[in-house]
Symmetry: C2
Subunit: 300 residues, 2 copies
């Protein structure tokens, strides 16, 4: 007798702890004006199709039993977008804590399952630039404080990153693949990342070196901004310029929110789904031991 691969039962102390953690997170979400949403555990297959790039192969499909073709939800973002569009909702802050499903090879030892929970807070609507981003960062800090966990939020800006690649000499069609190589800098040495860019991805060695100079910097938002603004060729790039304007605004907000010391503007952070357009970030839970907590970004 067993549960399916990559799934588990929750009972006893585990379940009580889980409930307490979700309660703490929910309280923060509510404090920030979040309203709960719950969606079906499966969606029409066509709703999920084409939203997750090559990860689409990890989507669990229901069997065709003579009705609609459906799939288990892969995340809570696409169901939220479907709900917004279906109900023509222009602006809302919603939270959703629920199970999602990925037909991955689960690394149970590292806490990775096929059925696992996501805790999402999303802000939909038109606001002044960077206001929702700053609020989400503040919410993250409050959640980790409530859980009495140390936290650092690594962040970067998609426009800064893409503009920087362009300035370094990366052609538009190579930007995503080079971006994905750079994102490995937290787990691989610069030499290995450069090797991947040059030998596997066909980038000129001097272009790779220029990227290396740009991306191997991290600091507070103000520090990294200062560094970027000192490079004339970067500031001259329109895309970088837009990103820097956003980050300058964000710096003032996180300062006002008292969370500047929790944030690292890390130019090597390059993760992100295709739908991210602005801020991208990753939450690091410290101490006792650094581990990846959460990754997200702005969709527009």
């Amino acid at each position: 007798l067993k549960t399916p691969k990559g799934t588990r039962d929750w009972s006893g102390q585990d379940m009580l702890l889980r409930e307490e953690v979700f309660k703490m997170i929910t309280d923060v979400f509510k404090k920030h004006g979040g309203t709960p949403l719950d969606t079906p555990v499966f969606e029409l297959k066509e709703i999920l199709a084409g939203k997750y790039g090559e990860d689409s192969k990890l989507i669990y499909d229901l069997q065709d039993q003579g009705g609609e073709l459906c799939s288990l939800r892969y995340d809570l973002t696409v169901p939220f977008a479907r709900w917004l569009a279906m109900n023509n909702i222009q602006a809302v802050k919603r939270y959703h804590i629920a199970k999602v499903y990925r037909r991955d090879q689960p690394a149970i030892a590292r806490g990775r399952y096929r059925e696992f929970h996501q805790c999402d807070f999303d802000i939909a609507g038109v606001y002044d630039p960077m206001i929702p981003d700053a609020e989400v960062l503040r919410i993250i800090v409050e959640v980790f404080e409530a859980l009495q966990l140390g936290v650092t939020i690594k962040l970067n800006h998609r426009q800064v990153l893409d503009g920087m690649f362009a300035v370094a000499g990366v052609t538009p069609e190579k930007i995503r693949t080079i971006s994905s190589a750079v994102d490995k800098l937290d787990k691989m040495s610069w030499e290995d990342v450069k090797k991947e860019m040059v030998e596997e991805k066909g980038l000129a060695s001097d272009v790779a070196d220029r990227i290396g100079e740009y991306v191997r910097h991290a600091g507070t938002i103000s520090e990294t901004l200062q560094l970027l603004k000192s490079r004339e060729e970067l500031v001259a790039n329109e895309q970088v310029k837009r990103g820097l304007d956003d980050m300058t605004l964000l710096a003032s907000y996180v300062e006002a929110f008292g969370i500047a010391d929790k944030i690292s503007f890390d130019l090597s952070l390059a993760r992100g789904l295709d739908y991210y357009t602005g801020l991208i970030y990753e939450v690091i839970n410290l101490p006792p031991k650094a581990e990846e907590g959460q990754a997200s970004g702005k969709k527009s």
Copy 2:
């Protein structure tokens, strides 16, 4: 844009009300020593196979994507039994409020969906007879009181019912099908039920009449017990006798629990899955308008 057939989103007031209702139910479950359990939304297909009789056709299967064959859970009872067996747990009171899935033709207007919630409280273990049954009845009354809903619990006993059919002259192989006809007495006239038994199910007319005499009675447990005990041919049947002993005990417990006035011992109640062996019941929510709330029974 739509959700799959028989599913819905929950948001705003609906979601807040749902949370409040679940909180009230959970509080009663906890007060009675319930511990929470959460199981995966899907199980190995073989776990569910053969548990639901002809309703098995309503089970949602996941597509075979090159791994284990899985199905969405059909109820919370079988996952609970799987969890008990897997962990060799001898005794526990657990509650579980979660979504279950049935690939039925959903009657949305009557509140019937393909994805819907069940709120289960189960007592596993060996206890003195009828003690857990009485506690579950008490829990039901407390839940409906917390929700400020009027409630009547219709109940019957599987041994009384089956013994009664035997005394009336029903052969063993016809007991389940005749039982299912009798169960329709809350929606059909006695004439139509008799017609079904005689014309469709091949029962002798005089046997049907004897059944009609037995089953068309309902009252408090004490009243119905008195009636049954006055029929010598029933009391002489071993199976009926065992059921009457159970019901006599139960009468004293529900009296002590102060819930005797919420209970109707209704001899026409014949519902139930094959795994019910003792008490079977159905909860009627009154007023403003009677509707079927919940059906359950004792499994052993």
